[in-house]
């Protein structure tokens, strides 16, 4: 296959080993080629302009501009950019953030070789892709309310081991107000205590521990 007919791929990940692994898998395929590698969202923007890849494989957690911000920026300047998230985060909230930002696919780094190749080809053809377990997680959690920015802030401070009084002090709010926030958070997550709330929120990608 001629070079110009191949699906050009840009890998964006701050871990060189990951990039090398993806390159090793992709380069066994005659219809796929790596056109560039970037270690940050900022570098990805520049390389996209230079190489105009057909598909971008994007990590979420990177120094500087994170993956979701990079997806938003790329799609703003290139609305037809086809982006697949390749991440370790299996939470439905992170997946939804990335998909709403414009990602066409969401794949876990634990994916099988064939799954990665299928995803690249499917997304290049205009399709969307999700691991079934993430689709299930999104489907199961879709009816529940998302946490507000303030609720996320409160829960993040709770996850760091702060009491309601300490959280209140940090945010300039009364202890009773924080108690109220925790009640709402527990209700939204369907749990009865703060430990469980932190566990669920971390698993779904609402907060980072």
């Amino acid at each position: 296959m001629k070079q110009a007919d191949r699906i050009g791929i840009l890998i964006v990940d701050d871990h060189p080993m990951l990039r090398e692994g993806v390159r090793a898998v992709v380069e066994t395929q005659s219809d796929l080629t790596i056109v560039g590698e970037a270690a940050s969202g900022e570098a990805a923007m520049a390389l996209f302009e230079e190489h105009r890849p057909d598909v971008v494989l994007m990590d979420l957690q990177m120094p500087g501009m994170g993956g979701v911000a990079a997806i938003e920026a790329l799609r703003r300047s290139h609305p037809k950019a086809r982006i697949v998230v390749l991440t370790t985060y299996s939470g439905d909230v992170q997946a939804m953030q990335a998909l709403r930002a414009g990602a066409a696919g969401y794949l876990l780094k634990s994916a099988l070789r064939k799954e990665l190749l299928d995803t690249i080809r499917s997304v290049h053809a205009g399709g969307r892709h999700l691991s079934a377990d993430i689709a299930t997680s999104i489907a199961l959690n879709a009816p529940s309310d998302a946490l507000t920015a303030r609720e996320t802030e409160v829960l993040t401070l709770a996850a760091a081991g702060n009491s309601n009084r300490q959280i209140g002090r940090r945010l300039g709010l009364s202890e009773d107000t924080i108690k109220g926030y925790m009640k709402v958070i527990n209700s939204k997550l369907g749990v009865s205590d703060r430990t469980h709330a932190v566990t669920i929120a971390a698993r779904r990608g609402m907060i980072s521990l």
């Binding site: 939804m96 998909l99 794949l107 994916a111 099988l112 799954e115 299928d118 995803t119 080809r121 499917s122 290049h124 053809a125 205009g126 399709g127 969307r128 892709h129 999700l130 691991s131 079934a132 377990d133 689709a135 299930t136 999104i138 489907a139 199961l140 879709a142 009816p143």
Partner: protein, 226 residues
């Protein structure tokens, strides 16, 4: 109307590899009815469900704005609510829109599930069906799938009405347009139905296959002339 006699499965290697072959293949296993061979791919009607069928890829065709679970019914139960994916706008059902779900959980037996948009049900035409079939076949070839199982629309009763014939022909035409231009060989394509509709659906499909075969040949001549 074409007729397939009863008898054991007889499948010649390489049969029909250059195009459609209606004759030469006879099968009457329980729950499966052969339709024909299309560029080396054996088309058949199979009484099975999307979530139980043992295939490399299960394809579900869904209408836009459809609130009925239809062919997704079983998948809905297993995956936990695809309706929610619609509300999250991950699954639109617009014509040609696709969502690939990899590594589906047990008891789904297919290696992956591809959901294909059929567009608004009230504006479905043979041309839109052909487009959806073409998109599906394109994804199948890109994924280098060997055995595909597909079910479109509502499932029960699909494909047995008088009006289904041009749509079934369009399905064959759409698949043919892709399989005829690729070196990858899809060896089996199962069109799923419910057991009570099996024979009627197979009969309709064989007629549609014959129609599409003739139309395909004429189209080929036109292409060469131009």
């Amino acid at each position: 109307m074409l007729h397939f006699p009863s008898g054991p499965i007889v499948r010649e290697e390489g049969e029909g590899a250059g195009g459609m072959a209606v004759d030469g293949e006879v099968a009457r296993a329980d729950g499966v009815r052969p339709i024909g061979v299309l560029h080396g791919c054996a088309l058949e009607v199979l009484a099975d469900s999307l979530w139980q069928v043992d295939a490399d890829l299960a394809v579900a065709g869904v209408y836009e704005h459809d609130t009925e679970p239809g062919v997704l019914g079983g998948l809905e139960r297993v995956l936990g609510g695809l309706a929610a994916l619609r509300s999250a706008e991950l699954l639109k059902g617009t014509l040609g829109d696709t969502l690939l779900l990899s590594r589906p959980p047990a008891p789904i037996r297919a290696g992956a599930v591809l959901i294909v948009g059929l567009g608004d049900e009230s504006s479905v035409t043979a041309e839109s069906v052909r487009r959806a079939a073409t998109v599906t076949a394109d994804q199948v070839v890109r994924m280098q799938v060997g055995h595909v199982a597909s079910a479109w629309g509502r499932g029960d009763g699909v494909g047995i009405s008088d009006g289904a014939l041009p749509h079934l022909s369009a399905v064959v035409g759409g698949i043919e347009s892709v399989l005829g231009t690729t070196t990858h060989r899809v060896h089996r394509w199962s069109f799923l139905t419910v057991a009570k509709d099996l024979d009627q659906f197979a009969e309709r499909f064989r007629t549609a296959f014959a129609l599409a075969s003739h139309q395909g040949r004429y189209q080929l001549k036109d292409d060469r002339a131009s």
